[in-house]
Symmetry: C2
Subunit: 233 residues, 2 copies
Amino acid sequence: MAPKPKAVVLLSGGLDSATALAVAHSEGFETYGLTVFYGQRHAAEINASRRVAKQLCACQHVETEIDLRRFGGSALTADIDVPKGRAAEQMAHGIPVTYVPARNTVFLSLALAWAEAISAFDIYVGVNALDYSGYPDCRAEFIQAFEAVANVATKAAVEGLGRFRIHAPLIAQTKAEIIKRGTELGVDYSITSSCYDPDLITHGACGNCDSCQLRARGFAEAGLPDPTRYHTA
Amino acid sequence: MAPKPKAVVLLSGGLDSATALAVAHSEGFETYGLTVFYGQRHAAEINASRRVAKQLCACQHVETEIDLRRFGGSALTADIDVPKGRAAEQMAHGIPVTYVPARNTVFLSLALAWAEAISAFDIYVGVNALDYSGYPDCRAEFIQAFEAVANVATKAAVEGLGRFRIHAPLIAQTKAEIIKRGTELGVDYSITSSCYDPDLITHGACGNCDSCQLRARGFAEAGLPDPTRYHTA
């Protein structure tokens, strides 16, 4: 039997990236999980990413650090309040303050560096264009542009050893569709963490930030029980 | 007088990036130097980048760290010997082992993150396509592809605040041309460090690696004295 091809999967510890990892498995890849600690407030995600990598059997899990706080410009890395209790219509307008400048470009470039070093040509990322009108680096045109970079930037591509593909299998799915798909693939969402502002001690989710609201609505729309551990003060 | 526009300049401490910084100044930008410590063997460059930022008056100098050693795959970050004493013809063939997977993609993505956070739309990088046939991420098509990414990846571009430009002013110049240009702009090359394998104590250049040889030849061809501090055992 031929060895499975390798894929690097960006793993935040959230619901989407756990699903992307399960999709990569189901599409026949040996998966390599990459978690980037970038100075985000919600370090609870890092613990979640370890649980996800373990449970979904990533062949290897690497955690790396890049301090995007030094650059500033986002509620997730600087001292700006994370918005709470916003209605769906508010979320659908404009790019939220939780946008982190060039974050997915940085993440994909690190995934590309690792992929090339281990002779992988496939990178999975759990970006989603539907939930927020907002994040520009969650759109298909960004993914396509980055794929073009990968195929001119690297020795492996230029020497003709293969062609890099950036897989964004969830990009056009609703949260409910993602949850249904992941559940079919056996993802246990109770171990994932999506909250932008989890409790520092219990790591329980706040239930009120954009991300918590989208997640809760996703489970409701999917008709599945919400296994999220909320923080109750 | 209108304030000068800002530009982020990737600053390795080597000859090319010092020249790129001087060019950015001469083109009317207020410059922000970004040095990335990525686990390279030649940490002497970091000290050089501080001297360059200071002498060429970068408005701000940020040093950031990302451990590309974790991913491996290069003589500059792993335990592979740096080639020494290669003839020019050897250098002109194939991509050398000193290639670091996706390095310039990682560097430019970090420069982009900082640029967006400080409302800069211009990024300077001292890449050069002539010296090595080798590095794929030193070619014009890579620079163009990355510029396309920058303009779809970011809030600033998507909201129409400006258009990112990746400047690679040295990309088509010979080392001698670069040295002449920098000298005209007042760059003091004695404070720069280009060696791939500098002495750990004295930080003197080895004189034999590809980078040292190209640099020495550049001064000779430019008809200018070579101010490089070589390590003499």
